[in-house]
Amino acid sequence: MKRAGVALLALGLALAAFQAEAKTFRYAYRIDPASLDPHALAETFTLSWLGQIYEPLVGRGKDLELVSALAEKWEQPNPTTWRFHLRANVKFAGGEPFTADDVIFSVKRIKAEGSDMAYTVASVTEVKKIDDLTVDFIMAEPNPILPMQTTSTYIVSKAWSEKNNAAMPASIKNKQENFATSNANGTGPFMIKERQVGVKTVLVPNPAWWGVKEHNLTEVVFTPIQSDATRVAALLSGEVDMVYPVPQQDAARVNSTGKHQLLTGFELRTIFVNMDQARDELLESSVKGKNPFKDKRVRQALYQAIDMEAIKSRIMGGTSHIAGTMVAPGINGFDAKLDMRLPFDPEASKKLLAEAGYPSGFEIGMDCPNDRYVNDEKICQAIVGMLARIGIKVNLLAQTRTRYFEKILSRNTTLSILGWQPLSYDAHSTLQDVINTPKDKIGTYNVGSFSNKRIDELTDLIEKEVDPAKRQALITEALTIHKSEIGHIPLHQAGLAWGVRKGVSVHLRNDDSLELKWVKVDD
C-alpha cells in the first residue's frame, strides 16, 4: 500500500514536471469523424477533421484562398492538363517518403468502388508520372477548377496502404472492417496517438511535418459532445479550451463570463426553399389538375411573403446572413450584386396569387428536417405562419433527417427547405447539383426539378471555361436567370459560433473548419 502511494506520488511529480512545458489543447465538436479513411465519406466535418492528419496537393489558407500543400506549384501546360510540382523531402508520419507514386495510387483509390470522394477527380482520366516529384492530371475536357475541387482530396501512402491491406477504400458495402477505418498515416501537421471511436481522440504533432510550425501545441484532445448544453458547460467549467458549434441561445452566456469569447462568422451553406415545378398536379395540394408552382407569379408570391428580417431577428438571434442568391459570400462565383432579396411584401403576394388564379390561396404540404440545419424546424414553422397570411395553408411535416432525406430525395415532396454548401467552394457545384435539370448524376438535390435550358448550357460552359473573368460572367448570368425565374427561394446562411477560452487563439474559417496548425495556447 505504502509502496503504491510512493509510486503514485512519483508518477504525479513526473506528470507535473511534464505538464510544465506541455501545451495541451482540448476541444469538442458535436459529432465524431465518421471514419479515419480519408476516402470513405464526403462529409464536411469528417473531411475537415481528417485535414489535420492528411493533406491534399493544394490546400486552403485562412481566407479559404488556395495555398500550396503537398504540391509546391501547379500550372496548366494545356487546357486539359494540370501539372503539379510536388514538395520534396516530405515523409508520411510512418516514415514512408512521399512521391508521385503516392499521388497516382491515391487517385486510383479515390476512383475505386466504395470511395465517396470520386467526384473530386471525376474529370481526371489519367494521372501521369513525369518524374518522382511531378505529376500530370489529364482530363478529357478542360477543367479550370481542378485545384479547387481537390482541396479535400487527401493523399495516402501507397506502401502503407498496400502493406495493411487497405489499398481499397473502406466501404460499408464490403461488410468488413478496413485497416484504414481505425488507423491513419498522413503527411499532415498532426498524427493520432490514441483513439476511442465516439469517445476521445488524442493527437500529437507530427515531428516529420514539412511546414513551418505556427502552433505551440504538444498534445490535442478531441471529444465529441453531442448535447448542446453539456458542450457549453464543458467550456464554461474549463474542462475544454474550445467548443463548436455554440448554440445561439448560449452565445451571450459564453461572452459574458469574462473568461471566454465567442468567434462568429457565416456558414458557406445556403438554405433555400424547393418548390415542385415538374409534376402536372402537386402531390400534397388542394389544387387539382394543375401545378401552381409552374406559374412564376405563384413562386414570387411565396418569395415575397417570407419575411427574412423577422426570421433573422426572432429565430436566428440576429446571427444569420440574409441571402438573395443561391451561393454564399466566400464561395467562388458569388456576386454581391445578386445578393439582394425581392422586397418582403405580402400585399404584392396576394395580388400575384389573385392574378395567377388563386385569389383565396390553396393548401399544400411541406417537408422539413428537425435535426439537420440550425433551427430548421423553427424556420419552417415561421414560413408556415407567413404563408398563411397570404392565404396559403401549409401542412408541415418536420422529421428527423434520415426520414426527411428519404422522402425528399425520392421527389415525394411539394415544398421543402434544403441547404447546400459546395464541397469545392465553387458555384458550379450549386448549379450542377441543385439548379440543373435532374438527369443521371446531375441535379440530384434539385428536388423541385426546376428546369431552365439556358442555365444547363451555361453550367456546361462554366465547367470548361478557363479564363476566370469570363467564367465569373457565365456564373453571374446563370445565377441571374435563376433569380429572375425564382427557381428556388434563397433564405439565408446561418451564423457560425465558436466558443474559446481566453488565452487560446484559434482562427475561425468560414467553412467551419478548425485548423489545429493555427492554434496557440498561451497559458
Binding site: 460499408i172 465516439g198 447546400w420 464541397l423
Partner: protein, 328 residues
Amino acid sequence: MGSFFVQRLAQTIVVVLAAALVSFALFRYVGDPVNNMVGQAASMADREAMRRALGLDDPVILQFLRFLRGALSGDLGVSYRFGVPVGGLLMERFPATLELSVCAMLVATVLGIPLGVWTALHRRSVSSHVLMILSLIGVALPTFLIGIVLILVFSVWLGWLPSFGRGTVVSFGSWTTGLLTAGGLKALVLPSLTLGLFQMTLILRLVRAEMLEVLRADYVKFARARGLTNRAVNYRHALKNTLVPVVTIIGLQFGNVFAFSIVVETVFQWPGLGLLVIQSIQFADVPLLAAYLVMISLGFAALNLGVDLLYAAIDPRVRAGMMSKARV
C-alpha cells in the same frame, strides 16, 4: 426446480426472438440509412446500388433471417456509421453502461431502503415530511433537467466535478473501468446521481408503503405483544417481509436503468451503450440497433429469470409453489 428452469429458459428464447422480429419490422420507420452513408456528391444511382448491396430493399422477413443466421454464427454485422464490427463496438461500450447502472442502483438502494424505513417508522416527524416532499422532485422532474442542473451547480459554478465523459479509465483487456482512479470516480458521481434519483424515490416510496402495510399486520402486533424489541420487530420481521416487492422492483428497474440510460448518457456524454444507440437511431444504423435490441431483450429476460429465482430464496412460500408445480 430443474424443469422450472428449463421451462423459463424456453420462454426466454421465444421472447427474445419475438423482440428481434418486432424490432426489425420497426426499422423501416427509422428512415433510410443510405443517405447518411454517402456524401452529397453521390448520385441517385450510387445510392440505389448501395441500398441493393446492403440488402435494404429486401423484405423484412428476409433481412431478419439473414441477421439471425449471422448472429447464430457469431457475426452481428458491421456498423453503418463506424464501419467496424457491431459486436466489438457493443462490448467496448458495455462496461461504461454497466458501471453507471450499477452505481445508480447502488445509490438508489443504499439511500432508498433506509430512508423508506425511516419515513415509515417516523411517519409524523418533520424530517419524514421534508423527505417525502423532496422525493416528489425526484419523481416529477425529467432526468435531463436534473442532469443539467447538477452540471450547472457542480461543474460550472463550483468546479468540483466533471461535466462530461468517464474521466480516466483503466483497462483490463477489453474491459475498462473508472472505479480505480480518482478522475474516474469523480466522473461517476453526477451521472449516477441523475440516473439513480428517480429509482431512489421509487424505492423509498415503495418501502414506506409496504412497511406501513406490514406494520399493521397481525403478526407484527403479535410480535410486539410478545414483547420483542422494536429493533427485532421492525427489522427482523417487518422489513424482511416488505422486501419481496422491493427486490422485484430493483431487479426490473435495473433493467430499465441499463436500457434507458440513454438520456443520462446523452446529457453527460457518457460513452456507453445509450449514447451509442441514440446516435445509431439518428443515423439509422440498422445492424447496431438490431444487435443492441436483441442484447437488451436477452438481458431483460435473464433479469426476470434471476428475480424469479431470488424470490424463491427470500420467500419460502414461492419455493414451495415452485416445487409442487415442478412435480405436477
